[in-house]
Amino acid sequence: MLRFILGRLLQAIPVLLVVITVTFFLVHSVPGGPFDADRAVGPAVMKALNSYYRLDLPLWQQYLHYLGDLASGDLGPSFKYPGRSVGEMIAAGLPATAELGFYALLVALGIGISSGVIAALRPNTAQDYIPMGLAMIGICMPAFLLGPLLVLVFGINLEWVPVSGWGGMPGDKVLPSLTLGAGYAAYVARLSRGGMLEVLSQDYMRTARAKGLAPWQIVLKHGLRGGLIPVVAFLGPAFAGLLTGSFVVETLFQIPGLGRFYVEAAFNRDYTMIMGTTILFAAAIIVFNLAADVLASALDPRLRQSRGGGQ
């Protein structure tokens, strides 16, 4: 298993390198620089800024400088926030986004799997349509609609929970996690329903019934592990997607996360921040896809054999 993980990580290096290169030249080809401002900046000031940030060098030299700094772990200074380095800002934003993403996935899995399993027990009956319908709401109600709605009902009218912040006050993590999680619940519900339907038709489920086990034992103990394989495959890209997907929720609930950097950097032409967030996102995709595959082989012992695990 270790060899498999090492193999995948080795493959990741060329992928990261290409992502960095493509993004670097893509970013520099978009008109409008980081220092263009409504208040025209004097030529002298512009010259000073460009030389400070080495923007006056030819592009390929800037690229080599950037790679040099990157090798030593320095993601460079942020153009928009002169006093801050990109690494520092990502480090400041990452915990909140990661935590938000984690809780959102818990919500998505909780709602998704339960409605998927309940629906799969009696397909094409009311017990199938209602939970799946509920899960579908997650798709019809985007975050920028669900968030304000929850705030209005639970935050302002019922005053059960704070309407903003992350960690500052008790209960301020509930609404953001629900908002972000609901979107993914629908996908998880459909995938777990499909997975469970597939598993429930297998012969070994008949063996389990023939052993006289209780229905919930049959479904949860024997069925769930097999039924969740498609969900696990979906988790990899989904969790990486949370990094960017949380932008809307972070602005709706004023959460000091990473999502906003990812979007605002593009508008501010904050080159180093765009590179920093892109590298983080690329690394996240590779790591989470790998984690999903490892989790899948943890669930399905047959996969372990092909990945050097097992005997």
Binding site: V15, I139, P142, F144, F267
Partner: protein, 282 residues
Amino acid sequence: MSRGLWRDSWRRLRRNRPALLGAGLLLLMVLLALLTPWIAPFGYEQQNLVLGATPPSPSHWLGTDVLGRDMLTRILYGGRLSLAVGFIATALALIIGVTYGAVAGFIGGAVDALMMRLVDILYALPIMIFIILLMVLFGRSLLLLFLAIGAVEWMTMARIVRAQVQSLRQQEFVEAAVAMGLPPERIIARHIIPNTLGPVIIYATLTIPSVMLLEAFLSFLGLGVQPPQSSWGLLISQGVETMEEYPWLLIYPGIALATTLFALNFLGDGLRDALDPKSAKD
């Protein structure tokens, strides 16, 4: 995809009530979208500043927005755009994704590893910058928006189709086709792809809503649809801002989007069952 398969699928689909309901609703939406220029009561830009936002009334069945424009017209035109984005971008994602996935899955080995690494790279590229660049280089056009969104969505489709093709490849009827001396491209086209339709349809019915919402997100940021044109996603995001003052600005586009997505969902399930001869119980 011979005539036979479609004829039988249609026969099976007709028997699946929810799928029929879904198909009917979807057809209604598409019809309304196509007939909009003739049936829309007002011009989509026609403002009545003095009027402002008014609740549904005989003259304006679904009320008016903050600039006094008729909401029914806005929703119809918005529908045109949302459905267009949904179908075209998904179709694009479908075509590229299915072919790419089928080729990667069928050939396997180093080629497959390379193609999948390319997908990883494309996944990681920052779509925001990518879309701004497209907007700037090629100017603002809706077609461009569809292409941009389509270009972002096909990777997941490719991954799903690849997994499906890898399992199909072990099936003996593919070996039989190879034994028959058919070239790879013909095997992929006539034997592999028709058998990946099940999961592809299911995922397509999931892609259409996510594409519509991605368009809403981009328009919310000013990169997507250019006002005065509008889309359901944009109408909803604008409606949210005045949710308490003028609830109808949010409710009606919300209903339009919800019905379309539910219809898609039921139709998708129905199509998947209809196209899978094995599952037909008769």
